[in-house]
């Protein structure tokens, strides 16, 4: 690889520079670390601790509070539990594509947390180090992940494979969610917000934002384009509904790509904007009336708005919703056969999967953990703590989350009593009902050719086309250039 060599040379020069200042390095290390673990996670995707006293989560089974950041807690826990010092080098990435680019440019990590399609891509390119057999040993008391992972998530991870290797062998779920619309119920009706057609609804001309992201936009476009099919009785009652839904939502035929382009070009003028980061704030400040969101961000948005006594709702399109996962995978490049490092990496996943840590992370970032806790009931308790109805509250409904928490049929232990309004608010975003999950579809990774085609489509949607420049503009430009040239020559001649 020639590219690598260039970067290796650059890195070598840099390294020479750094070693010239040994004092800088020495300060940060108090004792000699035995294992260095290089972790790369999404930005703002882990508890950084330092909570206020009144933020304590007072569950009946005990208080939970984030004092230190999660990474420091892990280092301590690992030393106490295994008697080995580990130092975590924690860094972050902004998008899956950024992470992939960082990896291809030679950054080395042991443990990363991309989304499902990037996990699929990394697996397909044989960059992922499979989890060890020990990781799946439910008898080991410290294997919090395998003891606690939700049967629902486990089912999905075991049910999908890349080249015959199922996801669960390589990836451990961290957070998951669905996509939908956060909307202002005073401006937008629930019916309008519950379909992808909202994006082209001219009643809300220039008042809706959508993510500036080719995959999410493509999914929304396909959902809107196939709306009639997806909501037809025949399709909904098809015995292979789940499979067919996934096929339809992952349709990357040229015909669909072209139609999606037309759709996106059409809505570009109808929307407020494609937002990179401002959607949450714009929703809270009321600049827009609806925003296409990932459920975790939706929870955050609704929480923030509530602090100002401003109530927003969440709706999931009737056609289909995109279910996504972020999961931990170890990289071959980083682990490089080092058993101690791999042990630390797997222990890191397990530590994050310990129910109290799961709750800390969920509270801190607003997303939904892939962990249900197994025999440990604290996570259910936390959901009840967040959303459960008060004892004397009226207008309550029963909300069944058995699908997520247990494999038992007809268990009644996982039915919460919640205020009715929560069916449109945070609860349904953070823990969607089984009925919503039925119409959720995974968006798989596209091969290089399809990826290129869809990205081209996206560029065509976003770019100004030179053919749109009217003739008079060309004439005006030509005249201006000519005038400039003449003026220049006249001046020189004088």
């Amino acid at each position: 690889m020639r590219k690598r060599r260039i970067f290796a040379a650059l890195a070598a020069v840099l390294a020479l520079f750094l070693t010239a200042f040994p004092s800088v390095q020495a300060k940060s290390v108090e004792e000699e670390p035995v294992v260095v673990l290089r972790v790369c996670n999404w930005e703002e995707y882990i508890d950084l601790g330092d909570w206020e006293e009144d933020e304590v989560i007072d569950l009946e089974s005990g208080d939970i509070i984030g004092v230190n950041d999660m990474v420091t807690d892990f280092e301590e826990w690992y030393r106490e539990t295994y008697g080995v010092t580990v130092r975590v080098e924690y860094s972050t990435f902004g998008t899956n594509e950024d992470l992939y680019n960082m990896l291809t440019l030679g950054d080395v990590y042991d443990l990363v947390c991309p989304s499902e399609y990037m996990i699929m891509k990394l697996m397909a390119e044989d960059l992922v180090q499979p989890l060890s057999e020990d990781f799946f040993d439910e008898e080991d008391e410290y294997n919090y992940y395998i003891q606690g992972v939700s049967p629902f998530i486990r089912g999905i991870f075991e049910g999908h494979d890349i080249n015959g290797v199922t996801w669960d062998r390589c990836a451990a779920g961290y957070m998951w969610g669905i996509t939908g619309f956060v909307y202002n119920p005073e401006e937008v009706s629930e019916e309008d917000a519950s379909t992808w057609h909202l994006l082209e609804n001219t009643d809300y001309y220039r008042q809706i934002t959508i993510k500036d992201n080719v995959r999410d936009s493509y999914f929304a476009a396909v959902g809107a384009l196939k709306s009639d099919l997806l909501t037809s009785e025949a399709f909904l009652n098809d015995p292979d509904y789940a499979e067919k839904l996934q096929d339809e939502m992952n349709d990357t035929s040229q015909e669909t790509i072209d139609k999606a382009q037309e759709f996106l070009q059409g809505i570009k003028d109808n929307l407020y904007s494609f937002e990179t980061d401002s959607g949450k704030a714009d929703m809270i400040t009321g600049k827009v009336v609806a925003n296409y969101q990932w459920s975790g961000d939706a929870v955050y948005t609704m929480d923030q708005a509530e602090e100002d006594d401003y109530y927003l709702n969440f709706a999931v399109p009737v056609e289909s919703t995109n279910i996504y996962f972020d999961g931990w995978v170890m990289l071959k490049d980083g682990i490089a056969g080092n058993a101690a490092r791999q042990h630390a990496a797997e222990a890191f996943i397990n530590f994050l999967s310990r129910p109290d840590n799961v709750i800390r992370n969920m509270y801190y970032i607003g997303y939904t953990s892939a962990i249900s806790g197994g025999d440990d009931e604290r996570i259910l308790e936390y959901v009840d703590w967040c959303y459960g109805a008060e004892e004397d509250e009226e207008d309550t409904v029963e909300y069944d989350l058995s699908y997520f928490f247990t494999e038992e049929e007809d268990s009644e232990d996982y039915i919460l009593t919640v205020p009715e309004e929560q069916l449109k608010r945070q609860l349904v975003a953070q823990y969607p009902s089984e009925e919503l999950i039925r119409r959720a579809s995974i968006m798989v990774y596209f091969d290089a050719e399809k990826n290129e085609a869809i990205n081209r489509m996206w560029i065509r949607v976003r770019c100004f086309n030179i053919n749109q420049v009217p003739l008079w503009a060309w004439i005006a430009i030509g005249a201006a250039v000519l005038a400039g040239a003449v003026a220049f020559i006249v001046k020189k001649v004088r």
């Binding site: 590219k3 008042q207 500036d212 996206w458 100004f464 086309n465 030179i466 053919n467 420049v469």
Partner: protein
């Protein structure tokens, strides 16, 4: 140890090699290769045959031209008044002009967003105008300072001479002051025009959905297409070189020091 010209130059030479020459070589390498690492000019021909790339170039030039014109319109009178006034606290006032640059850029644009929302209501109706306002807000000091520095150093006796020879104030300004301040204008224009072509963060933050050169390069990189993205960056570099060559003749020492003051 004696500081000779040679030893003093070493730090910058190292900087130059590490952060200018080396990345440039990498840029060239990617621009003229394909995914398999073979030499190709495909990326170059793609650039000039793709209506979207050309359209983006056109749109970027348009935004940059509008921004530069607006900056010049605001900056020249301000710089002129300031430079020719008898105020003692000139340096304080010039500091006030520069002060916005000490505040974090995204913070400033966020504030601007709120101000514009109050004025316009819905920002989504004026994406082009907002982008130009945002860029102007961001780049104005880069235009004011060089012009101010050029005018403030003009030899006052030249204007007196013009007036002695019968020129009125207007004639003196248009025939003496303005032509002599051209180097400052050129320096200011080059410091505003080129960044304005690529600063897509302003567009993103002010809800302009149309790509400019910077965002287009970014979108190529997100699609793992380093080669096409590098070629766009390279062509942009070529345009900048051309621009500098065309205006370089007019640039004088004054203008450079004006720029250096920043």
């Amino acid at each position: 140890m004696k500081f000779s010209r040679k030893t003093l130059g070493i730090p910058y030479a190292v900087f130059l090699v590490l952060f200018v020459a080396a990345p440039l070589l990498v840029l060239f390498y990617y621009a003229f290769t394909n995914g398999q690492g073979q030499f190709t000019v495909q990326n170059l021909t793609d650039f000039f045959t793709d209506p979207n790339t050309l359209g983006t170039l056109f749109y970027s030039l348009l935004i940059a031209a509008a921004t530069t014109a607006l900056c010049l319109l605001l900056a020249y009178p301000a710089a002129y008044i300031l430079a020719t006034s008898r105020l003692k606290a000139k340096s304080v006032i010039i500091m006030i002009f520069v002060m916005p640059m000490w505040i974090n850029f995204s913070l400033r644009i966020t504030a601007l967003k709120e101000i514009l929302t109050v004025i316009e209501g819905n920002l989504a109706f004026y994406p082009f105008l907002n982008s130009v306002i945002g860029m102007t807000y961001d780049f104005l000091p880069f235009m004011i300072l060089p012009i101010y520095n050029t005018i403030v150093r003009l030899d006052g006796s030249l204007i007196e001479a013009a007036k002695d020879l019968g020129a009125n104030d207007r004639q003196a300004f248009f025939r003496v002051t303005l032509p002599l301040s051209v180097p400052g204008i050129v320096s200011g224009v080059s410091m505003v025009f080129l960044p304005a072509m690529t600063n897509y963060v302003v567009l993103d933050m002010l809800y302009n959905n149309t790509y400019i050169m910077g965002s287009l390069i970014g979108s190529y990189f997100s699609a793992y297409n380093w080669h096409g993205g590098s070629m766009i960056a390279l062509v942009l570099l070529g345009i900048i070189c051309l621009f500098t060559l065309l205006t370089g003749g007019m640039e004088t020492e004054d203008a450079r020091t004006g720029g250096a003051l920043l």
